[in-house]
Structure formats: structure tokens, C-alpha cells
């Protein structure tokens, strides 16, 4: 809490915020208000961000865009069940250590040439295999660290993360404490498949990403598929919105609406009628049971092929 926030601060923070939003937009990510604000706060406060939301709303993409926007390297740790320290933090390179011991033993013909020295020797940084978390902490240049799908790991792993997230340091018993060279931007994503611990949440800023509003999604689609006709893009997003309202096993993500837009462009479709929809719907719906439901609920409501414009 060092800079006194006075009336003069009115322009400063706002400008920083706008800059963040613009930088994100320039790297191909249209952030909404809260996403832009939280990314801005994350950089200013040096706090990790916990991003939650349904699958496919661009949680991972936000991290990538941040890394592009800030020109930092992205280090990604993909979480899965059974992920342990050896895969996430660091590991000793046993083979190299063994070779070293054997080499040392070879040089000293008179028996034991100070085993303590070797011992100290083989636990040096040289024998350390860095894994994503250590790599992010030890990196000279500032990085963006993405811990993806944290909810897939077990609670023990979360507890281990606490040290990294609050103090940006890692203790290696044989080596001491490795402290961060530069402040990384840390993003954790979760699909909410289990409740995360309070301790972890306490250390993070929280951002809930939801499916974007229609206008924003139209912008996103147009950004990625600029050749698509504006009216068609809007229609497409509206249809995707209709599909998302159904109770599906897997609602279509933003990436899938973009894919669909690309497909429509390739096919040269100039409107979405029920025929085009039925032919291309497998791009946005990926379950057989979902397909039936969507065909019935959405496909029927679209105008038949040949007629002009939709009155849905």
C-alpha cells in the first residue's frame, strides 16, 4: 500500500487497465471487464489468479494471450490425477548421479576418496532436472506460469503448491530454498469438478469466466475469421447460444464456434438453414445423444433451405 491514492490516481490506474485490455486485444483475446481488470491486478499485485468457468470459455487462452501481450514466456503445467512433485517441481537425475559416483570411485584407487565430497557434489544444481514449477521460479526472465486444470490433482498437490504461490519459492531439502528471480504471473484454471481448498483460494484472485455475451462472441468470431459475413457471424453465435441453453453433455465452446465459422466459410454458406446446420452440426456438438437433441430442438427451428432469411 505504498502509493497514496488521491484524485490524481484517477487517471493512472485507469490508463494501466486500458493498456492491459488493449494489449490483450492486440494478442487476439477480447477480454471482458472483469477479465481485463483481474489480469491487470494480477500484474500489479503479483498475485496468482484462479480462473474458473465452464469448459471452453477461454481460460487457458487467457494465459496464452497474457504471455503474448506481456512478451513473457509461457510455462505450462498440465495437471492430472496422480501428478506428483517429481513431475511438477524437480527431480534428481539419478543416472547422472550414479555415473558421477562411479567415475569418482574409479579415480581413487586407494579406496574411499572422501565420500562426503561426492555426496555434496551429486546434489548440486547440475544434477537437478527442473520441472515446470521450478523452471518458472528459477527463470531469469519473467514468465507466465499456467497451472492448468488444478481440480484434476489431489489435495496433497494443492498443499504443495501453497509455498510456490504465496512466497514464490521452492525448498529443496538438499539444496536450500530457490527463490523467484522475477515475479511470474501465475494463472490456475479449474473446471470446478471439485471444490478447491480454502487455503489455495485465499492466496489467489478469483475470476469467473462465463460464456461471453452475444456481441462479444460475435466480435471474437469475427476476429478469428475475419472473412465471414457479419450477419452470418451473428446468426451463428445466436444459434450456438441456443444450443448452449439445452442440457447437453458438452455444450459447444468458443473455439468450436470459431471452427464452425471457418467451416461455413469453407463451404461457402451464406446463411444457416436447417440443411447446412444438420450437415455441419457435428463441429459444435460432439456426443451422439447430444446430436439427436440438438437436431430436434435447434435444427427444426431454423428455416428450411432455399427460403430467404430467418424468422425463427
Amino acid at each position: 500500500m505504498s502509493p497514496p491514492p488521491t484524485a490524481a490516481a484517477g487517471s493512472g490506474p485507469a490508463a494501466g487497465l486500458e493498456a492491459t485490455r488493449d494489449a490483450l486485444a492486440a494478442s487476439g483475446y477480447l477480454a471482458d471487464d472483469s477479465a481485463a481488470l483481474v489480469s491487470h491486478l494480477a500484474q500489479q499485485l503479483g498475485k496468482p489468479v484462479l480462473v474458473e468457468g465452464p469448459a471452453g470459455v477461454g481460460k487457458t487462452e487467457l494465459a496464452k494471450a497474457l504471455s503474448r501481450a506481456t512478451g513473457r514466456e509461457l510455462i505450462r503445467l498440465q495437471c492430472y490425477e496422480g501428478l506428483d512433485e517429481a513431475k511438477a517441481l524437480y527431480e534428481w537425475n539419478y543416472r547422472k548421479q550414479l555415473l558421477r559416483i562411479q567415475a569418482e570411485a574409479g579415480t581413487g584407487p586407494e579406496g574411499e576418496p572422501a565420500g562426503g565430497e561426492v555426496m555434496e557434489d551429486i546434489f548440486g544444481e547440475e544434477f537437478l532436472l527442473t520441472r515446470p514449477l521450478l523452471a518458472a521460479i528459477a527463470s531469469e526472465a519473467p514468465v507466465v506460469l499456467l497451472i492448468d486444470e488444478i481440480d484434476k490433482t489431489d489435495q496433497e498437490f494443492e498443499a504443495m503448491l501453497l509455498e510456490v504461490l504465496s512466497d514464490f519459492q521452492i525448498s529443496i531439502p538438499e539444496l536450500g530454498v530457490v527463490e523467484a528471480q522475477s515475479m511470474p504471473i501465475v494463472l490456475l484454471t479449474s473446471n470446478n469438478s471439485r471444490e478447491l481448498t480454502e487455503a489455495l483460494k485465499r492466496r489467489c484472485l478469483y475470476l469467473w469466466l462465463d460464456y461471453p455475451a452475444i456481441d462479444r462472441e460475435v466480435e471474437i468470431v469475427r476476429l478469428h475469421v475475419p472473412d465471414l459475413d457479419a450477419g452470418l457471424a451473428r446468426r451463428l453465435v445466436e444459434v450456438v447460444g441456443m444450443v448452449r441453453e439445452l442440457d447437453l453433455k458438452k455444450p459447444p465452446s468458443i473455439a468450436e464456434s470459431i471452427d464452425w465459422a471457418r467451416a461455413l466459410l469453407l463451404l461457402g454458406a451464406d446463411q444457416i438453414d436447417s440443411e447446412t446446420f444438420n450437415r455441419t452440426m457435428s463441429i459444435i456438438v460432439k456426443h451422439r445423444t447430444d446430436l439427436d437433441l440438438v437436431a430436434e430442438r435447434v435444427g427444426m427451428r431454423l428455416p428450411a433451405a432455399g427460403r430467404n432469411d430467418g424468422t425463427s
Binding site: 488521491t6 491487470h40 489431489d154 469438478s193
Partner: protein, 468 residues
Amino acid sequence: MPRPARAPRDLIADQLVSFCDELRSEGLAVGTSEILDAFSAVEQVPWSDRLQFREALAATLAKSQEDRHLFEQVFDRWFFRAAELEAIDREGPVEADGAEPDRGESGEPIDGERIDVDELTEMIRQAIADGDDALMRDLAQLAVAAFGRRGEGSGVVGVDVQRIRRSLGLTPGSQAQAADGAGEDVELDRDGVRRFEGHLRRELERRLIERTGKLPPARPLADLDRALPTNPTQDLAAVHRSVTMLKRRLATLGNEQRGRRRGRVVDVRRTMRASLETGGVPLTLRYRPRRPRRPEIYVLCDVSTSVTSASVFFLSVLHALHDSFRKLRSFVFIERISEVTETFERERDFRKVSERISQDGGVADISGYTDYGRVWLEFLEEISADLDPRSTVIVLGDARTNGRDPHAAAFAKLTERAGRTFWLNPEPRLYWNYGDSVMAAYEPLTTESFECWTTKHLEHFVDVVAKP
């Protein structure tokens, strides 16, 4: 600029801390570290922007979607009250150029004479359609002023809100037909209208406070406000979610058990065999592998009228379960029992399923009254050959037999055959055995009985079933 220099830092600090206190009293876990975060976050945003101020606080204080929902209500309530308190303290006409972050931007005094109601209505519609909160707030002020002048106020805030809304002709979806011609949806969505009502309410309260010069007592949030806004499909989604959790837990539970060394059983045969290498001395012990229970599940669901509201919930549970377990057979019953496994497997849409079940001739529902005794007898006759100690029977029902014979003996036979029997009762435990409920006859026979009328209960049940 809405923030003059007269707000010293520690005044804001006090306000923020007591706001956090308020959040705590509504059940949010706000720790000291969060408050510190909130302070540093607030310094990063312009205070004059209500939205950003709120987002910055929310990002640091509300750490889940439920928390966020509570946060927003507390935020609105608290800053409204804080602003009013300030206004009373200063006794100044601080009406529209308020100094607190809560206040609207419209600086000009409201001139009631100039307001044309039709025009106002049109503007409000537009504001609601655009979802422009700041504009809605200003328009609410205008609307209240206009109707106050006509002298129609009843003095009761809730009544006035509805009166104003009605006279403005704001009913959700009222413009649906007109919109079709224009080709664009200007339909007033329910949410928007409700938000506008919120603004109206606040404006009326503000006026009331001005008149009386004191704040009404603070009310804690009601349970209704606490719950996330839901509709049936969302509820269904919640059920699906907890069932997905069940599935995940079943899958991971096995791994956990594998790692646990204690309580393992020595496999004598394999140990002896291994001891041959060491001349018959059993140096290495071999253990029996632990296999997670993969239950075969039989679900019996009451769909009679006495559990109408609950049976929709139950059916959705059933429906969700079907996606997750491979060996699951489901039955519905009223007076007789009928297997619906296939219906569930074929139909993905829940509404269809319930339709089919209700019209399915199999559920012979002659009188519409449940006959549990008869159901057990029939179930025993048809299915019991398939029951074995590995199977789990789950009964969903209220155990109200309408005065008929409960046939507890038949149920006992059933529970004997099956490995485990669970009973989920849609009524709170308080009502069990009250009236024609014969839960007492069945409860001792089951492995465990649960009350189950929210998804929370369901999750609890999931925990128990997933245990090996």
C-alpha cells in the same frame, strides 16, 4: 468528479473493513489476507467507476460463484446504506452528486414537470434491453419522481415498486410480438425488469430515508436471496454435476486404497509360492489385491402423486445416474413396479423421459396410491434372482403406503439378498413416521437411510455410496 478530496484514506479503510465484516456476517470466509489484498486491489482501479471498484473487490473477496452472488447483494445493500448514513450525517441535499461510490452520475436536479411518461417508458425499455445499469438507475429516479408527483404513493416500498412498474407497462416479454417485425429481439428479459425493480426499490427507500431522516434496520439476506438463481434445467445440471462427482470419486477411490498399506490381507497361497525361492521361509509377503467396489445398482423410484415434486428430482437423479454407471437398472413404481432401464438408455432428454414414464402402461397406476408392500412382492418375484451380495439397491420414496400393509418381511428378504440397501426419503427426517409414513418399518432393514431433498443431500449420499 464524484470523488472530492474530502475522503481521507482511513475513512475509506474503515468503510472497507466494516464492509468485509458485513460479508463475514453473511457467511463469506474473508480472512485478513483477503482484506489486505482488497486494499491493494482497490488502489489499482479508479474509485469513481462503480463497476471496476466492485470487480476489484469481488476478485479479492469472493472466491467462488456462490460467494460472488452473495457478494453482489451485500455490496449493493451495504454501500447504499453507507451512502444514506453519510447523507443523513451531513444533512445536506446530496441527492444526486453523491460522494460515495454508490451514487449515480446524473448531476442535474430532477424536474418532474418535464417528464413525459411515454417517452420515459420508451427510454426505460431501451435501457433494460441494453442492460445499461447506470442509465436504469437514473431513469428509476425519474420514474419515482414522476409518480410521486401524481400522489399515488402508498408509502409502502414493495407496493409502490409494483405500482410504478405496472403503470409503466413493464412486464417481462411484453414486446415479443412487436419485435418480430423489426427483426431484432427487444424482448424485455425477466432479469432486466427485475434489475430495474431493484433500482426503483432503492430509489424509493432513499426517499423514505430522506423523509424520516433515519435508516431502517438492516436485514440479513433471506435464504431465497442466498441461493443461486436457478431454473429446472439448471437444477438438473446441478444434479448431473454431483453425479459426475460421484463417478470421479468412484474412479479415484480405488487408487487411494491401493496406496494404503494398512488393513491389507495376506494372500497365503501366493506367499507360500514365493517362499519356495527362499527354501520355504516366507520372506516376502504377498497381499490380496484390493479391488474397488464397482456396484451393480438397482434403483427403485416412487413416482406417485404424494411425491410429485420430489419425483421430478428423483427422476433427474436416476437420469443422471444412467450416464455414469454401466450396470444400473432402474424401476419406477406407484402401485406396481415397472422397469424403465431401456427408456433411460434411449432417451437423452429428461422431459421426454418423464413424459414417457408417466404414460407408460407398465406403471399400473390404477388409483394413483402407492402400495409399497405390493411393490416389494413384485420386485422379489421378478428380479430377486439377479440380486447378489455385490448389488446395491437404492429406494427413492417417502414410504407412505396409504394405510396398506407395508410387507416389511418381503422388504427384509430383499435387503438380505442385496449387499447394501439405501433409502432416500424426499421428506425431512422430522416428517418420517408421521401420518401414513411407515419409514420405521423399513429403516432398520436398510444399510442406511437418508433424507434427500437438495443436491447437497445428494452429494452426501454420494460420499457414502462411493465408500468401499
